[in-house]
């Protein structure tokens, strides 16, 4: 408190700068190493990084972003949202009644254990090879982590909290929103995070199987056409997309679960 404000800010600046250096140093070194090691590469499969960066703007033009990346992202968004809604709704129902839970649990465990990509051929039988198939594949894979985590979260609602809410006459929708879903939300978000990575995998796989556009389709086309630098740009773009979605998810999670993280922080500090 007694420190002059100017000094505090300069120290904070140094700390922020240091953190930035720490964050950027290794990626910079890795990219530099890759750049240098691949500079003279004559291996067809490992083109120089300079070439890959060079073709990137040519490959991912506005048209391709609109024609391939946008449809992929929209399918992912549609499938993921459907899975999240269905997972939370079903999970709340199953988690709230003990008998329903006991009835469904073994079947749900089995369905979750099926590796989601093997459902692509099955859903192709029903839905053909259009957008519906891809959205259904993404939704059917993403729903299980959300569903099972919601069941666990709803089940673990603090009984004292539930009783208190009941004695205050909080029932119906208010109870569901303020008590049940709120206390289950950390678990639900854990499920949603797992579902996100499964969703990206399924988005790519469903497009690799049968599609006429999309990121997965394009990357495989490049590979089959031996357009290796183009293929590398596709891999890099998929990586960037995965990273971007994970950052967005982190931001959303911090916003929604802010109260929870704050609670844990203060809990850690007070004893």
């Amino acid at each position: 408190m007694g420190v002059p404000p100017g000094r505090v800010t300069s120290r904070a600046w140094v700390r922020a700068l240091l953190r930035l250096v720490f964050a950027l140093a290794l990626p910079a070194v890795l990219v530099a190493v890759w750049w240098a090691a691949s500079a003279g590469s004559t291996n067809v499969y490992w083109p120089p990084l300079r070439t890959v960066f060079g073709v990137f703007p040519d490959v991912w033009t506005g048209e391709r972003l609109r024609g391939d990346v946008l449809p992929s992202v929209l399918r992912l968004a549609a499938g993921y949202t459907a899975a999240a809604v269905a997972g939370v709704a079903l999970g709340t129902v199953i988690g709230s009644w003990r008998a329903v839970r006991a009835l469904c649990e073994p079947v749900l465990e089995f369905l979750r254990a099926v590796p989601p990509p093997v459902l692509v051929p099955v859903i192709m039988l029903f839905a053909g090879i259009g957008d519906t198939m891809k959205i259904a594949v993404i939704a059917s894979g993403c729903v299980w982590p959300v569903l099972l985590n919601t069941v666990e979260g709803v089940r673990a609602v603090d009984p004292v909290l539930a009783d208190t809410a009941r004695s205050y006459g909080i029932t119906g929708v208010a109870r569901l929103r303020q008590v049940v879903l709120r206390s289950a939300s950390p678990q639900i978000f854990a499920g949603l995070r797992q579902a996100l990575s499964i969703g990206i995998i399924l988005m790519v796989i469903s497009e690799m199987f049968a599609a006429s556009n999309g990121l997965g389709f394009t990357v495989v086309q490049f590979q089959r056409g031996f357009a290796i630098p183009d293929m590398w740009t596709g891999i890099l773009l998929l990586g960037l997309l995965g990273f971007l979605l994970s950052v967005l998810f982190g931001l959303a999670e911090r916003r929604v679960l802010g109260w929870y993280h704050g609670l844990r922080e203060s809990g850690r500090r007070s004893p």
Partner: protein
Amino acid sequence: MRGSDAALGAAGCAVFVLLGEAVPRLGLVDEDHFPPAGRIAVALGSELSDTAFWSALGDTLTGWALGLAIAVSAGVVAGVVISVTPYLREVTASTIEFLRPIPSVALIPLAVLLYGTELRSVLLLVVYAAFWQVLIQVLYGVRDVDPVAEETARSYGLGAWARIRHVLWPTALPYVMTGVRLAAAVALILAVTAELVIGAPGLGARIAVAQTSQAVPEMYALIVVTGVLGLLVNVGARAVERRALAWHQSVRGEVAV
């Protein structure tokens, strides 16, 4: 209580199978798309008596086990080294956060080019996907080490290796085990996916063949097999976890008393 739960669970399974039989029989869905459970069971029976099925199962399990073993050992070693070396943690944090969400299936085209349909292209995908699960858990686990225990070990003159062995590892083990359990499930998904998409020999490739040759009941039978496999992997991983951490609960119990 437990007995009635088990009975309800069994009833649930029975209802599930009955629905699988009744829905196509009643014409609610096309039998060509969704054969009745009985026909799937018959197809499963003929798969089980086929030696090609067993060798495909062996291929899948080999890719899974080998990939998991590599990923777990690499993840544990990398995690411990990153944690105990000063500054390495801060330096690597951003890179790990960047590489982790990259979907491993993005590597499929590269794997095809480099290794074709060999086991190695399955391993590339499996190891990449499973490695991060273990690494992240190890990093979290090491961060959980009690600073007092660490200082005590230091003041008793324990060397770096002994501190890792007696202080760091026991604390991190529960986290590591969770990582292994997650990695085991992810490794199976990626092994089957790689076979399905790339065509490396295994259950996934057999599903792809059944699909293209319109052998719908066989396809469902193979999918059921992958589900059972996934179930066994989960149950097995939990059993290993319980075994490896048996001491953990007991130690906690003693402290509580």
